[in-house]
Amino acid sequence: MSILEVQNLSISFKKYSKGLRQEQNQVIHNLNVSINRGEIVAVVGSSGSGKSLLAHAILGILPGNATVTGNIFYEGQLLTEQRKEELRGTEIVIIPQSVKFLDPLMKIGSQVQTSVRKRNAVTAQKKIFEKYKLHPTVEKLFPFQLSGGMARRVLVSMAVVSEASVIIADEPTPGLDMEVIKEAENSFRELADNGSGVMIITHDIEFALKVADKIAVFYAGTTVETAPVSDFSGKGENLRHPYTKALWRALPQNEFIPIKGSQPLANDMPAGCPFAPRCEQATSECSEGLPEERYIRDGMVRCIYAT
């Protein structure tokens, strides 16, 4: 059974368009994703596609003008707003994008200690610092004094000491060099091996392929395909959705060939399949509503022509 399951999640924002006129802007459409214990799932999509909102919806930290529909289950039980509040930071934790999410006036050591629940906070913190090669003097530093790589290790160590069962990492890689990225890969694998479910939200498909078991491809507010990592190989023949194939072909180590156009904006969504305007295989049928999820060859796809 999956430890976390997101079913038919839709998120829309209420905003003012002109004067007092309000409009609803739907940014996530009927999204489904699930994570098992011991599994790493990467949600891959371009920046601005709203994938961080998925993390925020799971934790229940969306702003007040957001409307959420659909269900999120944790260990088979429905996550209500109240349960989200109880579980976040203990059972479900997030590794945020940057140190900006830390308390700027609290020293790193005591900040990490606040995440420990089951054991002695000080020894747990000291042990984890040793493991991530953080010098004991780092305990006495404030967040602004950390370098990018150190900050990343501090954020990961906070997630590790919390011993949470679901860990969501939001864009863990930008601006990090290979060595630190390698370290992040190992720490995520270790978390999963300890029985947690890990969700990595990233735009970096190479990193996702290295670290994850399963890739969920996010486009224009929904997951268009979920595929095992092994399907990303060769010329992408095993991939199901035309967008995923185009993404694979566009990688610099593959063919580096782009396709035309850009991802539609949330307030300018085409009717039907969001990828249809850029898709070579698109026909008039593709504009007749968002394609249903179909399960083929151990993966999910939202394309009526996928085989």
């Binding site: 999509g45 371009s46 920046s47 601005g48 596609s49 370098s147 990018g148 790589g149 930008p174 601006g175 990090l176 060099d177 290979m178 060595e179 630190v180 735009h203 498909i205 190479e206 185009a246 993404l247 694979w248 566009a250 990688l251 610099p252 180590q253 580096f256 060939i257 782009p258 396709i259 035309k260 156009g261 850009s262 991802q263 904006l265």
Partner: protein
């Protein structure tokens, strides 16, 4: 025609050098990668080459003369975070036309939608803004382009789209490009050689 850094050094505090003794030269039409660990000063070096920052020691020369202080700068820098590189109080068309007027063909190649020109920067995503930042830096008087993690935050398709357009323009105008990136496959694809700032040694690719 070349852009040169001669024995350049920089640091923010006394006796605390971020880097020293950097020698680098970039010929016209050449695409060179710049790599190094976080905090080694890659971005700072890029800023020095584009004239945003003065080195504490050493000099930067363009065609054997110092960098010009006024007018259209022949060395253009594209930043990693486009949202910090556009004026939030200008419409996109004004931002785009600040330096020159790109033709429709370039806009189309970069995937810039005509409708976006009327929008404000906060109405576009990072990837969309970055297309504008690239377009405005590719004017006919640009001789060298510094691409500082230009496509790091973009998805692979947008990355390929932008680079293919930039490579075409660079070829047409015989522009030299310095690519600052962590992404080895991208550097291998684009560059004829790669400079490592931490050791300041060159490896031919």
């Amino acid at each position: 025609m070349q852009l040169e850094a001669l024995n350049v050094g920089f640091g923010y505090r006394k006796n605390n050098w971020t880097f020293r003794h950097i020698d680098l030269s970039l010929r016209k039409g050449e695409i060179v990668g710049l790599v190094g660990p976080s905090g080694a000063g890659k971005t700072t070096l890029g800023r020095i080459l584009a004239g945003y920052e003065q080195p504490l020691e050493g000099t930067v020369k363009l065609n054997d003369a110092p960098l010009p202080k006024t007018g259209y700068h022949p060395v253009q820098l594209v930043f990693q975070h486009p949202e910090k590189a556009v004026n939030p109080k200008w419409r996109m068309k004004d931002i785009l036309h600040e330096g020159w007027n790109p033709d429709d063909e370039l806009l189309e190649r970069l995937g810039i939608d005509r409708d976006w020109l009327q929008r404000w920067p906060n109405e576009l995503s990072g990837g969309e803004l970055q297309r504008f930042c690239v377009a405005r830096a590719l004017g006919p008087m640009t001789q060298f382009l510094i691409a500082d993690e230009m496509t790091t935050m973009l998805d692979a398709i947008t990355q390929a789209q932008i680079w293919q357009a930039v490579l075409d323009m660079a070829k047409k105008q015989n522009m030299g490009i310095l690519v600052i990136s962590h992404e080895a496959p991208l550097l291998d694809r684009l560059c004829s050689r790669i400079i490592d700032i931490s050791s300041n040694v060159m490896r031919e690719g």
